[in-house]
């Protein structure tokens, strides 16, 4: 292999080296970081909400009578209807569901004192049917009892005797425990400084998600259910879980049926949970899609750049190639010459690119809180780009190998 003479030729013509080397370096730096972000976003797409996603829908209704008692009565009548309706497993009134991007959050404490030790958590309203209605994974304790569930209006405190918390919230609240079940029976505190109140943890559910991702906190996994039926001004939100096979029918018919029960209000189109999830993932999908486009374009530019420059070199060196053939080079020798030359240039570009990729990642880490680039991405990206470069160089290199030896005497 004629590596040394090729290397000295490359170094004598630094323009090509700089052009392709820089292009490879920049491509590597950007592509590796973009791929890493894409990978994270695609991982988000596999998020599970912790509920029976395929069979849950929500219904919003507005236009209730404005007094509390009538509204509560309407909610009970609607729930009675929903629970008896064929195809419905269970239904309850709530405020919001995981991944909806809107809901309530608060800080709760493991102790009465407000000394800064607290966690951010999402607050969900639920009744005794919580576990069946959402299909939650209750890993310890019990569901709410009917007697614990109270109506709730906006002007009240969140006081209750019992709460059900997510396993992640339990572990975050009590750093001293190592299994979430150990939080059973403990107290969760809430309320203003001079008006503290607590509730006992009666159940632990696993895997359920908050309505949104916190930017800096871990709120996404922190959930506290309170046994309340929300009576919020004049609208209500129901979560309904269907039997397998009945989902499409419910989605289509439940709205007119409920509307018919009471013509004095408006029942909105139901939201299927898969759509809620889809909306939640839209940003991640868009970001991943955009970055994939950028990566593909960059790689394409890189390929075209290499094909272009190597083609130029082949044309420029036509007579030299013929001469080499006359002096005894086989077609394989000529092919190898251009592939080795390109590999050397790409390798130098990749070396610079690794440094640039780390620098870019450093900046992304400090500016956007992106995670640190794992070595596997860097090594994989570098190897991938080398292989791509050699593959791209193959096209003009094969053309070079086909140049006939007679060119040595026929061209001037």
């Amino acid at each position: 292999m004629e590596i040394r003479p090729i290397l000295s030729t490359v170094l004598r013509n630094p323009v090509g080296l700089i052009l392709i080397g820089l292009q490879v370096a920049l491509t590597l730096a950007i592509v590796v970081n973009a791929l890493y972000i894409i990978d994270e976003r695609l991982a988000n797409l596999r998020i599970e909400a912790g509920v029976d996603e395929e069979h849950i829908l929500t219904l919003n209704s507005a236009g209730f009578a404005s007094d509390f008692e009538t509204t509560l009565a309407t909610i009970h009548r609607d729930l009675d209807y929903l629970r008896k309706r064929p195809g419905v497993v269970s239904a309850m009134a709530t405020n919001t569901l995981p991944l909806t991007q809107s809901g309530w959050s608060t800080e709760v404490e493991a102790q009465e004192a407000l000394d800064g030790r607290s966690i951010d958590t999402a607050i969900y309203f639920a009744d005794e049917t919580l576990v069946e209605t959402l299909g939650l994974d209750l890993i310890a304790g019990r569901a709410f009892r009917e007697a614990e569930v109270e109506p709730y209006s906006m002007d009240q405190e969140l006081r209750s005797t019992a709460v059900i918390v997510s396993a992640a919230a339990a572990l975050a609240l009590y750093p001293e425990i190592d299994r979430p079940e150990q939080a059973l029976g403990r107290l969760v505190w809430n309320g203003a400084e001079n008006d503290r109140f607590s509730a006992e943890i009666v159940g632990i559910v696993d895997g359920v998600k908050a309505p949104w991702k916190g930017l800096s906190s871990d709120i996404f996994d922190h959930v506290v259910y309170v046994p309340k039926v929300p009576v919020i001004a004049n609208f209500g939100i129901y979560a309904v879980r269907s039997e397998p096979g009945a989902f499409a029918d419910l989605l289509q018919n439940i709205q007119p049926e409920l509307a018919e029960l009471d013509t004095q209000r408006v029942v909105m189109e139901p939201n299927a949970f898969p759509e809620i999830r889809e909306r939640f993932l839209r940003g991640d999908r868009a970001m991943a899609g955009m970055l994939i486009t950028v990566v593909v374009l960059l790689l394409l530019v890189n390929i075209l750049g290499i094909v272009g420059l190597v083609s130029f070199w082949v044309t420029q060196r036509t007579r030299q190639i013929g001469t080499r053939r006359a002096l005894g080079a086989t077609r394989g020798n000529i092919l190898a010459y251009f592939l080795v030359e390109n590999a050397l240039i790409s390798a130098m570009g990749v070396a610079v690119g690794i440094v640039a990729a780390l620098a870019l990642n450093n900046w992304l880490v400090s500016a956007f809180g992106v995670d640190r680039l794992p070595w596997a991405f860097l090594v994989g990206g570098a190897a991938g780009l080398l292989v791509l470069g050699i593959a791209a160089a193959c096209v003009p290199a094969l053309r070079a190998a086909a140049i006939p030896p007679a060119i040595a005497t026929r061209s001037v």
Partner: protein, 237 residues
């Protein structure tokens, strides 16, 4: 050493057929110095290219150093060029980005010699053409005559059986041309067969044997001096 019998070469494009060589027969003995002359377009380069396995002939037979070359694979032809043949071109054909040492090294690398063998051959070949001290220079730093001497060194380093030179002095002034000719004569004296195309009657006269090509045929065979023991060429009927 080299025998062509009734050889023909036809170039076909979709418009025209050019019969560059017709009923072309020639025999060159080992150790001969053959000067090939003829008008422009008569087929001299075509003959040299076929003789040097740079192109394939379209008819007849061609035997080189005991090997019938018709139908040999490209790989095999490359190997024969590398081992048995040396080329000197009108335009020198040095590789501009390689220094003299690396230029002479090119065919030796294809030969697969190890580094010390290559170094030995390169140094002795450059010595022979008087350019050993310039081995780190690049072609552009040399005069035309010097460049052609490097090309001769490159052709010599592989110790070829035949040296093929197509107008080696065509781009040189007469002083440089004579210097190159002297080197070629020295090489021939040491036993290497040489076939040289030239337009220069003075140089042609210095060769042991003259072959004249007109219109793709060997029409005139003359020896510069009669009674040469190796001038037994076969003319076409």
């Amino acid at each position: 050493m080299l025998t062509m019998n009734n050889l023909s070469k036809v170039y076909r494009t979709h418009l025209v057929e050019t019969h560059a060589l017709r009923e072309f027969s020639i025999h060159v003995e080992e150790g001969e110095f053959v000067a090939v002359t003829g008008p422009s377009g008569s087929g001299k380069t075509t003959f040299m290219n076929i003789a040097g396995l740079l192109e394939e002939h379209t008819g007849g037979s061609y035997e080189l150093d005991g090997i019938e070359v018709s139908g040999l694979s490209d790989r095999r032809r490359s190997a024969i060029r590398n081992e048995k043949l040396g080329f000197i071109f009108q335009g020198f054909n040095l590789i501009p980005d390689l220094n003299l040492f690396d230029n002479v090294d090119v065919p030796l690398r294809y030969r697969g010699f190890n580094a010390s063998e290559r170094r030995r051959r390169i140094e002795s070949a450059l010595e022979q053409v008087g350019l050993a001290s310039r081995r780190r220079h690049f072609p552009a730093e040399l005069s035309g005559g010097q460049q052609q001497r490097v090309a001769i060194a490159r052709a010599l380093a592989g110790e070829p059986r035949i040296l093929l030179a197509d107008e080696p002095t065509g781009n040189l002034d007469s002083a440089m041309a004579r210097a190159v000719m002297e080197i070629l004569e020295g090489i021939n004296a040491a036993g290497t067969t040489i076939i040289m195309v030239t337009h220069d009657p003075e140089l042609a006269a210095r060769a042991r044997r003259n072959v004249h090509i007109i219109d793709g045929q060997v029409t005139d065979l003359s020896s510069s001096f009669a009674g040469t023991p190796v001038g037994a060429a076969v003319a076409s009927a």
